[in-house]
């Protein structure tokens, strides 16, 4: 959402504190860092290597790299960006050996148009109410809260995210699970601002459609 600027200062303070604790040898601080970055790291690693097992090895290797570099880290980037960059470098090295990598920069999402919503749901582009909904999407605000955040619904969303193409999955994991900013994603995976947004938009649109099938039946 449009809250990046407002929360950035608070996030920086929090980060400085966690960093100081880890540097002082606080195991719990490191453990919580490892827990909180795990989904994003795994998501990113899986765009570069074939299997989940190898991705987990990459994440572990990246953390060892983080520990090695901790004393030299000068906070020229955010801690999160720095850690995720180490991960990407580790994954690329490994991905080269694994002979699979999905280079973000070679994606040209603008070339093929994938609509966010099935064009069938809109009126024809000419005539009265051109390109307007032929039937409105439903009002999820009228859904009971427990339906939206219930385990079954979250499972549907989780499966939809897992089924996304690797590059979309990585971007949505970084943005919506790990809470990275758009800029952080661009810095970490070497993707243009425009492509980052297209990947995120496609990912969210696909997940929304899955959620709609589940909630509206």
């Amino acid at each position: 959402m449009q809250e990046d600027a407002g929360t950035a200062a608070g996030a920086a303070d929090e980060e400085a504190e966690v960093l100081a604790r880890v540097r002082a040898g606080d195991e719990r601080a490191l453990a919580s860092l490892v827990e909180s970055y795990h989904p994003a790291m795994l998501g990113v690693a899986r765009t570069y290597v074939k299997s989940r097992d190898v991705a987990e090895e990459v994440v572990q290797e990246a953390w060892l790299g983080v520990l090695k570099g901790l004393d030299r880290f000068e906070r020229r980037s955010s801690l999160k960006t720095w850690i995720l960059r180490i991960l990407v470098n580790t994954a690329k090295t490994r991905g080269g050996r694994e002979a699979r990598s999905v280079p973000f920069s070679s994606l040209a999402p603008a070339d093929e148009h994938e609509p966010a919503v099935d064009p069938e749901r809109f009126r024809p582009p000419a005539g009265a109410f051109a390109s307007h909904w032929s039937a409105y999407p439903s009002d999820w605000g009228a859904q009971p809260e427990e339906g939206l955040l219930g385990r079954e619904t979250v499972d549907v969303v989780k499966r939809a995210v897992e089924a996304l193409p690797a590059s979309q999955r990585a971007v949505i994991a970084m943005r919506d699970i790990a809470g990275c900013t758009a800029q952080e994603v661009c810095d970490v995976v070497d993707v243009s601002a425009g492509n980052q947004r297209v990947l995120l938009h496609r990912a969210r649109s696909t997940v929304r459609a899955a959620l709609e099938r589940h909630l509206d039946g």
Partner: protein, 83 residues
Amino acid sequence: MAESTDHVTCQEVVELVTEYFDGALTADEAEVFEQHLNFCEGCEWYVDQMRTTVSTVGHIPEEKVPPEMRDRLMAAFRDWRQS
């Protein structure tokens, strides 16, 4: 963005939601986008659905760190601390 700057269709709105959330639309574009929502309940609900989608993705239970990885990292951390 649409060819004309004073009007967007519903089919265009659904493609602009992510840019809108990210504050990546120009002030004029955002204005046109919001004007559309004021008069179109369908798009208002759609944008709300996208917001719900984003927050639900944020509720996916975090993947657990495998215990072996955790143990190994903590051991490495203890070594690092002592070095």
